[in-house]
């Protein structure tokens, strides 16, 4: 028993356990369930039933078994490589999306610290700058997949993806400057704890969405454009360039792209929760001073999960509600509207912070 406790107190062992918990029990299951959630919700919006046939015995689980069926199916599908493709680049392209998706979760705290133990894999000083660095990696996935496939549609998708993603990366960084100013740090734990303070006594929590309402919309828009989902899905363009940059992929490598997309959706949701909706902090919980620690932690995990699932749902709802933008509309929305707006937001926030805080 003592030996186990001693092993558990080694930081590296703790990190590995946390990584296993947050990736294998939170990010991956959420990403997988989102694939079914999207199909079910789109069916509901289009007045269909949605997937409901896969069954074991007579049990269908209301479509839940399609998760297993889809996985098994793509394992046993042929893995094709188009003629004239650049084999090595074609091979490594699916890696980037998954790496970027998984690494986003490294700095997200899902509950408050108990003593020295934090529910966060690592709390590095650059914090969100690391997120910017790692999300720009996923550009390489799309570009390499597009250029290495030796296919016209894939190349079109890849170039569109590169232009769109690098453009929206600029606004993503600019939109968060307000948050950095208000909370005075890029470290995630500082930002989350800064959101645990209140205005007017105990009336309104200082969540990012209240301190930075414009930044919230700008950042959310930029993140959706980064994940290349509707209404910014010109790089994939189902109705014109078939599937865009991963058109030539099949079988498990295609699944890797799809899983990366849904893990990215989950990543967007946890970022929005952490930066704009107080992270794990349950509002007004500090008023209940005699709350036991275990209950507080459970409530924090619960609140974090609920807001995260809400943002996943919101992205799916947006995809099936809004018509898609043409590519030129996407680009001019970004450069001509979002860029001036986010610069103005930065300047305005600086004035407010200097004058009143």
């Amino acid at each position: 028993m003592d030996l186990i406790l001693e092993i558990l107190s080694i930081p590296l062992v703790q990190s590995i356990l946390k990584i296993a918990f947050i990736i294998l029990l939170f990010a991956m299951p959420l990403g997988t369930v989102l694939t079914l959630m999207e199909r079910k919700w789109s069916a509901m919006i289009q007045d269909r039933v949605g997937p409901n046939r896969a069954n074991v015995g007579n049990y269908t689980g209301n479509g839940l078994l399609h998760l297993a069926a889809d996985g098994l199916k793509s394992i046993f599908k042929e893995d094709t490589i188009p003629q004239g493709a650049n084999g090595f680049l074609y091979l490594i392209a699916p890696f980037f999306g998954l790496i970027a998706g998984v690494a986003t979760f490294a700095i997200i705290p899902i509950a408050g610290p108990i003593g020295d133990f934090t529910f966060q894999v690592t709390d590095i000083e650059p914090g969100l700058l690391f997120i910017f660095a790692i999300t720009s990696l996923s550009v390489y996935g799309a570009v390499l997949a597009g250029t290495s496939s030796n296919s016209k549609f894939a190349l079109l998708g890849g170039t569109r993806a590169s232009a769109q993603m690098i453009s929206y990366e600029v606004f993503m960084g600019l939109a968060l400057m307000g948050i950095f100013m208000v909370y005075g740090s890029t470290r995630v734990s500082d930002i989350v704890n800064g959101q645990n303070e209140y205005w007017f006594g105990n009336l309104i929590p200082m969540w990012g969405v209240f301190t930075q309402p414009l930044g919230f919309f700008l950042f959310f828009t930029a993140l959706i454009a980064e994940t290349k989902r509707a209404p910014f899905d010109a790089p994939e363009g189902e109705s014109e360039i078939v599937a865009g940059y991963f058109l030539e992929y099949s079988g498990m490598r295609w699944s890797a792209f799809m899983l990366a997309e849904y893990v990215a959706v989950a990543g967007v949701a946890v970022l929005m929760t952490t930066l704009f909706f107080g992270g794990y902090h349950v509002p007004w919980l500090h008023l209940w001073e005699s709350a036991p620690q275990w209950l507080v932690t459970l409530l924090q995990i619960g609140k974090f999960s609920i807001v995260t699932i809400f943002f996943c749902w919101l992205q799916i709802q947006l995809r099936w509600t809004l018509p898609k933008f043409r590519f030129d509309q996407t680009m001019s929305l970004g450069w001509k509207k979002l860029l001036p707006l986010s610069l103005a937001n930065t300047a305005l926030t600086a004035v407010v912070v200097l004058a009143f805080m």
């Binding site: 046993f76 690494a103 030796n150 990366e169 960084g173 100013m181 030539e248 001509k336």
Partner: protein, 120 residues
């Protein structure tokens, strides 16, 4: 927390991401069937016979976007230190940052007037 202990878990996460993608690739390569044919190997082109002109030309707009991106990405890198220190630097820092942004906005207006942001 030393630098190494803070960044080691991130390296582990990246390795985990590579492991996941690697498993996907290997599983797909070894468990799937391999039935090659000439037609199946040709890149998809909606059923047309391909004429082999893939990757020959890009629209120049993509290069323009990349150039504008470079300018603004470097701009925001310079602005991050100011944003986290905005209270300490006070109105002097604010004026300096606004001058910096102002110069870049001039460049941005020039880009806009020259039509570098147009996609028609």
């Amino acid at each position: 927390m030393t630098i190494a202990s803070g960044y080691l878990p991130i390296l582990l996460m990246i390795l985990l991401g590579m492991l996941l993608a690697g498993t996907f690739t290997v599983v797909g390569l070894y468990l799937g069937p391999r039935l090659r044919s000439k037609v199946k190997d040709t890149p998809f082109e909606s059923g047309f016979v391909r004429d082999g002109t893939e990757g020959s030309r890009y629209d120049v707009k993509f290069y323009m976007t990349a150039l504008v991106f470079l300018v603004f990405d470097v701009e925001i890198v310079f602005l991050y230190p100011w944003t986290v220190q905005v209270r300490e630097l006070g109105w002097f820092g604010f004026t300096a940052a606004m001058l910096f942004i102002g110069v870049l906005v001039l460049g941005f207006v020039y880009d806009w007037k020259k039509g570098a942001l147009e996609w028609e």
